[in-house]
Amino acid sequence: MSPVRRRQRVDPARLGRAKVAFEQLLGRDRVFFADQDIRSYADKFAVDDNLHQPGGAIAAETVEEIQAIVRIASELRVALWPISRGKNLGYGGSAPVLEGSVILDLSRMKAIEYDEENGTVLVEPGVSFYDLYDFLRQRGLKHWISVPGNSWGSVLGNALDRGMGYTPYGEHATKICGLEVVMADSSLVRTGMGAVEGSPTWQLYRYGFGPSWDQMFVQSNFGIVTRMGLWLMPEPESLMGMDLEFDRPEDLGPLIDALAPLRREGLLQQSPTIGNWLRAAAVLTTRDQWTDQKGHLPDPVIDAIRKRFNVGWWGVSLRLYGRESVNREAYKILETEMNKLKPMIMRPTTWRRGEPIESSGWTGTPLTFPMQNANWHGGRGGHVGFSPVLPQSGNAAMAQFRRTYERYREFGMDYQASFAFGERHLINVNVVLLDKDDPEMMARVDPFFRTLVADAAEHGYGEYRTHLDYMDLVASTYSFNDHALWKLNQKVKDALDPAGIIAPGKSGIWPAQT
């Protein structure tokens, strides 16, 4: 059995009845079913604008309202697509997998509880990275957050989608500690120590007693998370590191092999990301400044862009966090190891507590400018990402790079890529930069993406995250033992939400009766 399934639109008649019921519950000013509303909740970066159209949207402000909404949706068999802030651009934004789903917009829920002594927060879905940064800034930034490249989005939503940032707390899903969740039967559950009445340790100990469920609600559709505990990094005493540029494509493998043991050893606690020249250039310039030629960029154009912005074929930034005396010693090791690779540029950087701070992702300062790459083609743009998980091996990464680069050239796409370290893995994020004003190019995107997924699967690689269009496809590549994992996910879905009220199709998970 394949997890790729036929999708059925939500019935318009039931949708109409649901709209009336939602208006009775929330008032008409929090129910949005006009054409303009539907367009505003659609996927701005869609490859095909006709897919994933929502049926309408509603804005909840309390947990009790969410419970009542779930009861209505369940009674009328209308699918809900919960969003925290809907800024998951590149993965579908605020749009649902299943056309006609009602967007359950939680962006107005913005409460923050802060345990300054222990360095934890409890946040609602609408809290953006800017909101949390501002909140902590007002209190002296004794703790730093970890931000993704689009910090417009939700802290909770990003962690639940396994988003990543740049600090030692950059694997956001691993810093979750305790959730509050509305289930499809409208019951309210608190995970971990939150299940103990009045517990002071909900955000301190992840597991509780018996099975630990936090990760069950990550990249899934088993419940609607209304509050999330998150650990924050204490402001370090010092920050040291370097920004590096490397000149040649083949420098990637040795760089990975040099960084991987430092990361596994713990000398590097941050997870570095090696990015190619276009990751820098797509933020800084537009393609038409350099060529009017369609198809992939020729090497002389790449060389000219690199020269203009003084960037390597690959670049990486490394940072050490913590006590200054420790960082000084660690820096020496880092410098020695990197110099062995003969980088094109090495720019050291250092900061001590009390000095003016580097406003960047490495200090947990929120940012949005990386999204300027949506304008690479000059007009209506966007992107989708193809992101297989690899071992931390220079040879494996080079092979994946060469294979993928050739596919980009074959399909006439500009290659933007990065290799992001985890503790034991690499995520190879390949960005497909869209030109929505070029129908011929847009027609190539889907076959291109499917080819990349197939290539990766052939080598045993699966993606860590994907766009709405490809959730079934990616789920299908997790195929061990006749898709046993997909079957398990479906059994859980059937047990918790047999009617598929909550986000049907998320991560390829559908109830059996769909």
Partner: protein, 131 residues
């Protein structure tokens, strides 16, 4: 999104140098100037209601180093909305609700109509006071 794939590490500081002169022939081991601290609600304690809403909902992209400011710098002489003199309230409201260029629409769920109106009124009035 997420560090997601739009994460830009070594490119980060370079974004501020997008409008800078071309790199020198001999690449020195120096980078572009550091980016400024983002403007958030607490940046301006005496902000009025419309200004606070602008800081909360718009400044992430339309502040000094935001995506919106960066992209508008490619098209307009004055990329910072608070310094624009040619904005009408209707234009602001339409751009926000429909989206414009690479800017996605901002939904009524996230930003109620009455709050949007306050932001639009603020942007129409503010260019006289923001330096």
């Amino acid at each position: 999104m997420t560090r997601a794939h739009t994460a830009v590490l070594s490119a980060g500081l370079l974004a501020m140098a997008a409008c800078a002169p071309p790199a020198p022939e001999n690449p020195a081991n120096t980078g572009p100037p550091p980016m400024p601290i983002p403007e958030t609600v607490s940046s301006r304690p005496s902000a009025g209601p419309g200004e606070k809403l602008f800081l909360e909902h718009c400044a992430s992209c339309h502040g000094p180093v935001g995506m919106g400011t960066g992209l508008l710098a490619r098209r307009t002489d004055e990329p910072q909305l608070e310094k624009r003199e040619d904005l009408s309230a209707d234009y602001v409201a339409t751009a926000v609700r429909l989206g414009i260029g690479n800017m996605p629409p901002v939904t009524r769920g996230e930003l109620p109509d009455e709050d949007l109106q306050q932001i639009a009124d603020y942007l129409v009035a503010v260019e006289e006071t923001v330096p």
